[in-house]
Point group: D3
Amino acid sequence: MSEIRRAEVLLEALPYIREFRGKTVVIKYGGAAMERADLKEPFALDVILLRLVGMKPVIVHGGGPQIGSLMKRLGKEPKFVGGMRVTDEETVEIVEMVLVGKINKEIVGLINHHGGKAVGLSGKDAGLLRARKRKHRLPTGEEVDLGLVGEVELVNVEPIRLLEDNGFIPVIAPVGVGSEGETYNINADLVAGEVAAALGAEKLIHLTDVQGILDSAGKLVSTLSRKEAERLVTAGVIEGGMLPKVESALRALEGGTAKAHIIDGRVPHAILLELFTREGVGTEIVL
Amino acid sequence: MSEIRRAEVLLEALPYIREFRGKTVVIKYGGAAMERADLKEPFALDVILLRLVGMKPVIVHGGGPQIGSLMKRLGKEPKFVGGMRVTDEETVEIVEMVLVGKINKEIVGLINHHGGKAVGLSGKDAGLLRARKRKHRLPTGEEVDLGLVGEVELVNVEPIRLLEDNGFIPVIAPVGVGSEGETYNINADLVAGEVAAALGAEKLIHLTDVQGILDSAGKLVSTLSRKEAERLVTAGVIEGGMLPKVESALRALEGGTAKAHIIDGRVPHAILLELFTREGVGTEIVL
Amino acid sequence: MSEIRRAEVLLEALPYIREFRGKTVVIKYGGAAMERADLKEPFALDVILLRLVGMKPVIVHGGGPQIGSLMKRLGKEPKFVGGMRVTDEETVEIVEMVLVGKINKEIVGLINHHGGKAVGLSGKDAGLLRARKRKHRLPTGEEVDLGLVGEVELVNVEPIRLLEDNGFIPVIAPVGVGSEGETYNINADLVAGEVAAALGAEKLIHLTDVQGILDSAGKLVSTLSRKEAERLVTAGVIEGGMLPKVESALRALEGGTAKAHIIDGRVPHAILLELFTREGVGTEIVL
Amino acid sequence: MSEIRRAEVLLEALPYIREFRGKTVVIKYGGAAMERADLKEPFALDVILLRLVGMKPVIVHGGGPQIGSLMKRLGKEPKFVGGMRVTDEETVEIVEMVLVGKINKEIVGLINHHGGKAVGLSGKDAGLLRARKRKHRLPTGEEVDLGLVGEVELVNVEPIRLLEDNGFIPVIAPVGVGSEGETYNINADLVAGEVAAALGAEKLIHLTDVQGILDSAGKLVSTLSRKEAERLVTAGVIEGGMLPKVESALRALEGGTAKAHIIDGRVPHAILLELFTREGVGTEIVL
Amino acid sequence: MSEIRRAEVLLEALPYIREFRGKTVVIKYGGAAMERADLKEPFALDVILLRLVGMKPVIVHGGGPQIGSLMKRLGKEPKFVGGMRVTDEETVEIVEMVLVGKINKEIVGLINHHGGKAVGLSGKDAGLLRARKRKHRLPTGEEVDLGLVGEVELVNVEPIRLLEDNGFIPVIAPVGVGSEGETYNINADLVAGEVAAALGAEKLIHLTDVQGILDSAGKLVSTLSRKEAERLVTAGVIEGGMLPKVESALRALEGGTAKAHIIDGRVPHAILLELFTREGVGTEIVL
Amino acid sequence: MSEIRRAEVLLEALPYIREFRGKTVVIKYGGAAMERADLKEPFALDVILLRLVGMKPVIVHGGGPQIGSLMKRLGKEPKFVGGMRVTDEETVEIVEMVLVGKINKEIVGLINHHGGKAVGLSGKDAGLLRARKRKHRLPTGEEVDLGLVGEVELVNVEPIRLLEDNGFIPVIAPVGVGSEGETYNINADLVAGEVAAALGAEKLIHLTDVQGILDSAGKLVSTLSRKEAERLVTAGVIEGGMLPKVESALRALEGGTAKAHIIDGRVPHAILLELFTREGVGTEIVL
């Protein structure tokens, strides 16, 4: 590619840099983008570039195979109620150690190694994620006790604001703290939505392992309204792991986030592609 | 005690509050004070009071029995070279999970539960503790490779300052990051000394499980000079776990810390007693 | 008392320090607390401690036997109309000299001597207390001219805010200035109420020479509503010097002060006892 | 005078306004300018104009006939040692009441009544004038005890700076406070010199009841060097009340004040004439 | 004139200085005041004095004989449609060069030469004057195309505020920029009115070559209401070059400017006379 | 080009963005880059991108064919002395009109039209370029009077700093003002060097119509030392219009500018290529 073409590519980013300057972008990091070795560096560079051109990226990450692997090594037998995994105290302790003491630190280290200034936060830090027990109801209507699975009650944005206003990149582990100090494991997708809502973020971006949301014909939906989303949920087209992502997106939008996206994290630089090209990638959710 | 006597006690703290207002106090937290259930709340309250009357406490914590316990459960066999434990990659990973994902979070949760605003930091956050491999020499003069045991190369005080200047209490886990992004386990006592030096802290306080430093006659030394300290080390009177504490204290003093103390963490409210009474408790180290 | 018990006493103050941090507390200083030698230092220390733990005390003081003593020495004959003392120009001049040039300076000197940073203010400074002639009506309904006895028309909080926001303790003498520059002697209790109202103070505390407000049976009333206060006034149970204190308290509450207290200034450290203990002392007035 | 001529007069002040903008001017106020009814308003207006065009006037005032008059009324017999008045405790108390509670308040009221924002300060406020006993030696070489006559040990400029940086005009009474809290009467001329030195004022202006400094032939000296001043003192040409004024001027210049003037306060608007005309009035002292 | 009288003249300005301190005064500069050599320096000094005593003058200037002279030299033939001059592209280019590159620079140089800090601004700088084509209708009702004659669509006050808040005097040339980047020549009187409205200026002052607005009897009107103005326009008493001045004044008043004046710029120091005397000069327009 | 490749191009700019963030870059704009229609937009976009990613570009522009063209139209005959053009008063007036009123405004309009916030400055604005007559010596040693050709005596960086610190892009016309207010035409290359020196700019970039500096063999020199530059000047290899550019570069470097470049402005996006690629383009001058 000629040097001049390179300059033009830079300049094509200009309107997007101008648009997002000073704005907060919450990124839910997980799946292949977090686990595949070849996708880690592109992710780190993307986040650092956002920061350098004046945006304020905030990362929320999920767990991964490492939780299950440590549980297995510790001989921890999974318990299920009505098909749902029960999180007892020992489990939540393992989850916290892996999320906060391993995955979060790997992400922080990755970004810093490439020149960013990331700081990890657990939901316990400064009471960032105040949580309560999540009530779970089976399809039969029966309520089941899943143990220490929580939902976000309140996001204390103070430490996030302090970090992002001073040039740092906050990296948040989805662990919450209850009113009695107890630890809750919370779905990372939902945490990302709550954080985006609390910050009034400009954008919420979910990195997933699929192209985006597909309709019943298996075709990528580029824009999805709340109504349509509800229809696809009822029809069972949106299901499984995509459900909390859609719930998270809608929650963020209701809380004042301008745009929510579900994109394909398997594509290198998916974040830049979403932010710096006209068409974007994946599915955009709108109210 | 009469109400008036209570007021007088408050007022007796006045000169100390005035003296330490706006000053940073680094506290190495560990031993009984961290492990005994009845000493946790007094510690948390002490730290919160310091903050409320205008001081800036910074906590550095060590590990504890939890590291060994998790290693045992994972069937991890300890390796020794020349009597020293070797820290391989798997070990450092376990250490990091326990320090950052468990102990740090317990301390943060404890302080916040009593009304403080603690934020946990690993040495990886914003490159807080840049580390390198620690060279270890046996008494025979032979150098041994202990693996991923590190020493502090550089403390990046930026995130600590940001937090302490905005009303937060930083709680630091003694994990360092090398120039290639590798993880190092670092002695928490030495981390505390380096952090106090880098911050130009007013005080460094080590909470230990002994009364302070004892002389060869077993009597508590209330003030210890560098020279005397070196004599007691050579004489083998100061030994074992007390060695890094003395090294840490001297390092802090050389770096500009005004006073360094080794005190008895088994006494409830040892921190307040040290800061708010004329005699102080334990041993003060001076240059 | 053991050292540990002392630390506990400090910690018992923690919730109150947290609650009142950054809040303004107006203290009406007078009576025994101002005149008895053994009560002066406790008062000064109390005020300095409030300041050091982050509160903003503002002192309003009254006169005392010194005014009468100077008048007598100057051979000034008191004049009365309908049983009320008439304040002519010569009298108001003496009152101003004693209040501003003697009593105010003694209080300022007392606080500074113990390490505070007090600055005296007369109601003339920066037009702090704009006053007008107080209309006085005898029980017979007849209006009498008491001369230069004033009432507060407007409080200019600007110099108070400037001082309290910069670490100083304002000490206010109850002298007002009229629209033509004339000097008014104003009841110090009422000045304290107006100042508390204008500042939107958190608390107004009157130091008196009685236990608090007593009911018709002579029993201390711990909480007194406006309605009940009016009933006790009508019944003549609240009378004499207590009347302006109750009027002042109600005025402060109407102006946005959160709580008003009438306490026993003869008890050493009465201010700390009121602020730092659960039960408080004396009578709390509520709207 | 035509309107256009009026505009020209305004413009002739332009270079002086530009030169003194943001600069501190210490004015020693006393004598006729303070006592004659017709000179009070011109003084107040001059000071207010300085403030409005961006200068920072600081007033130091002396006493006056009022002190003697009150002493007489109180039947206070003057005591002399070697021809010098002795100030006992009762005397210093009267002095303080008159200076702080009467004269200071009159000046503050005068300036505020014409639209300025004056705040009175005693040397006790915030420890503004830390004083010690002045040693006095008779011409015979014998040292005499004059009681509570002080000299300035230290000027705490903090409250002056706070006031002048926030649009207020500080008015300082020459009363000092000793290390034991004792009150000292200090010569107002010398206080003005110390305050000018401590503030690094641009100018010190003494308002006197003479034209300026006269030489042995009785002719006004427009510029006086330190050397020449010393010669005139030795020769007895400068004597009496002019001595402390010259001492004060030299002290200010040594302390960094740019210019010191001794001018004729009997001329209305003497301050404006000095500041806003090329020739100035009276005598300028130079190092 | 005696020196004391001079001081009194200064003091007579005091209430006006106080009133206008920190306020923005927009001055439309043109006519004799801009063209006559003997009036240039008085204008510059007036503006500098305003700035020094704390006001914020903003200058808007018009063109002058220099535009016509350059056009003639360039052999540019004037075109007229229905008696109105048509501004083609070549003409607007000449206008811009003379206004921005000559007249504006002369004014800036004049003020700076006398010690002010003027900065010239064209309506193109930072998009200060966003303009659109002015629709012109002949008395017959027919609309004519006058070419690049514009009217103000939007004033971007950002650069003006930045300059005036930092001690500079903005000098604005009445050239606007269209949405396609095209240049418009705009009537300077109207620009002054729009700028005053956008800034919420305290005053708008038009310097003209007449005494003010005259009524049908040729007598100066000292205050003119909107209603009366409309009547005089309809009656043809206000006509020609006075029309845009009255329009400008009314526009400013509607936009929040407190007072608008049309004064005689042929009088030296007309600005000071208007601002610093009770009666003012010329005509004041009111809503 | 694939979308992913586009993202990679963006990321390749990351180290340069990081390096130059917050730094001032002075760009001498002229020649083809300023005159060729197809190069104007790329220039504007480059400058805006620099600003958006956190750099502070400052533009200094030269004249162009427009000056000669206006002179010709005005029938102005060029005068020469010893082969050098003489600038009389009429000429400098034309030069100022074209530079300030035409070229400067075109550049400002161009940048603003593409979304930047440019503000034009003449050397007269706030006394930005204080100039004096340039002494010119012919090769024969004879000194000739070239009239109003100036050289920079002092750069007042205050208005540049104010603008660049508030998000604006200053665009400077090379017109200076003498101590008597007279106008000077100054070589734009030299102005750029002085401005870069005064600002302590990170970089000075000259856009020229050649590849860079060529050696005697006609080969591009990529790095040129001062010594080598002097040799090439003496040898006549560097000559004509390149002489002031080299002089300007050396002046900037001496004044503290880190790097100076002479690059090929005929290449689109030459600025971005210089700043955002490893090799850079053209010639770098070093001390």
